[in-house]
């Protein structure tokens, strides 16, 4: 007993450190469990409620409604232009074939970012709207410039956005000109489309949009333009650096695209999303 007492006296800092680090590792490895998710949703909802009270002090109240209307109109026009651009390209390709039916329907839910959490690897925003407004995990979040991220989880009144600048964010994108597809991700310092075949005809300045093949975002939302093509001497693949249209750090107001193109397809995709987390 005395030996244990001596060990504790001599090494208590190390013992406590090891114990607490082990508990942390346990939480990290179980952070996708439903119970942990529920706990996180409840707690972030409570903190977001406090944040929302204070965040109003940092936003000017004047012209709020008019500004919101204009932003919504801007976002709708962006989507419209993007859709028309898509149709134009498809028209050239398909020429005399049947015209493509417009199956895309969307509703924009305006929301305000009430808090931002930055790190090199994870940029996460909290929104002032949640389940009560019809917001669900997996919905796309946009501004007038393009895609900001997707809804990661939501409580009744608040939601968390996993932004483009999050290392766990993955989305299928395509080059709007050459139609090459790839998976976009955040490396911690850059937005990158990795492992594109060297034969792909991507050029600097090409517009990158989300692909219809994306399991979550089945509509072409603008992402950014090709900033740099990294072409290593060895291997068969290129990496492409993307400059996003949206300045993620400066975004304050966003729209959630409440688009459910097909119920069965959507539920299957959301299941994939939920299982993947």
């Amino acid at each position: 007993m005395r030996i244990f007492g001596n060990i504790w006296t001599q090494f208590k800092e190390y013992l406590v450190l090891i114990l607490l680090l082990l508990i942390s590792v346990f939480f990290i490895s179980h952070s996708d469990h439903r119970s942990v998710k529920n706990l996180k949703t409840t707690t972030f909802g409570a903190f977001a409620f406090v944040s929302s009270i204070f965040s109003d002090a940092f936003h000017t109240a004047g012209l709020k409604n008019e500004n919101e209307k204009l932003r919504k109109q801007n976002a709708e026009l962006m989507l419209e232009i993007n859709k028309l651009r898509e149709f134009g390209i498809e028209n050239v390709e398909l020429k005399n074939l049947l015209s493509v039916k417009d199956t895309i329907s969307y509703q924009l839910i305006p929301a305000k970012i009430i808090s931002k959490s930055f790190s090199a690897d994870q940029t996460i925003f909290t929104l002032n709207k949640g389940n009560d407004e019809g917001i669900k995990a997996g919905m796309a979040v946009i501004t007038g410039e393009g895609l900001v991220g997707i809804i990661e989880r939501s409580s009744d009144d608040f939601s968390l956005i996993r932004t483009l600048k999050h290392t766990n964010f993955r989305v299928v994108v395509k080059d709007q000109r050459s139609r090459f597809q790839g998976i976009l991700h955040w490396s911690g310092s850059q937005l990158i489309i990795s492992n594109l075949p060297k034969t792909s005809e991507i050029k600097l300045g090409d517009r990158i949009v989300t692909s219809e093949l994306s399991s979550l975002i089945g509509q072409p939302f603008p992402i950014g333009i090709v900033k740099k093509i990294i072409n290593p001497d060895e291997g068969y693949f290129n990496n492409v650096l993307i400059k996003p249209f949206v300045e993620i750090e400066k975004v304050e107001n966003v729209f959630i695209v409440a688009a459910i193109p097909h119920k069965i397809k959507n539920s299957i995709e959301l299941n994939f999303y939920n299982n993947g987390n």
Binding site: E13, V16, I23, F118, S119, A120, T123, L160, G188, E249
Partner: protein
């Protein structure tokens, strides 16, 4: 004395509000200072390594819960950072160390450990460039945190209120 020891937990909420509402306006290329870490190092140097380790764990848990980051990531990094900072605890200079330039050095060191550990947990990638890890995700965020700590140090009144 006991009330003093739970003060940082009480300070957490207002400080976290500043962290998520005000600090984002001062971001530089996605890098922001970590105010919670400054609080943690301050109290670790005031009450010792063991206290710091437990406080780091508690503040890390509160950070994870309130920001939605990977649960356990801040717990791990803040506990580790407090352990490092705790090596500089000396009960003979408790009152003066937090007002000396050494305090900034300790914050820098703890912040580098915090940032690198967080990067490894949140973005573990076998192809991760050592230079990027050390500078982009370690030293630059730590420097920013240290600069903010030095500003706080300059404007802190000589008489201590915390």
């Amino acid at each position: 004395m006991k009330i003093d020891k739970i003060l940082p937990v009480i300070y957490f909420t207002p400080l976290m509000l500043i962290q998520v509402l005000v600090v984002p306006y001062f971001e530089l290329n996605g890098i922001v200072p970590d105010l919670i870490l400054i609080l943690l190092v301050f109290y670790t140097l005031k009450y010792g390594q063991l206290y710091g380790i437990i406080l780091g764990f508690v503040l890390g848990a509160l950070t994870d819960f309130s920001t939605g980051s990977i649960l356990g990531s801040s717990m791990f990094t803040k506990t580790l950072s407090a352990f490092i900072a705790g090596y500089f605890y000396n009960e003979n200079i408790v009152g003066t160390i937090t007002k000396s330039p050494l305090f900034l050095g300790i914050i820098f060191l703890a912040s580098v450990v915090n940032a690198i550990a967080f990067s490894l947990i949140a973005n573990f990638d076998i192809s991760l460039n050592l230079f990027t890890l050390l500078f982009d995700q370690g030293i630059f965020p730590a420097l920013y945190t240290t600069i903010i700590a030095s500003i706080i140090l300059i404007f802190t009144p000589k008489r201590s209120y915390i």
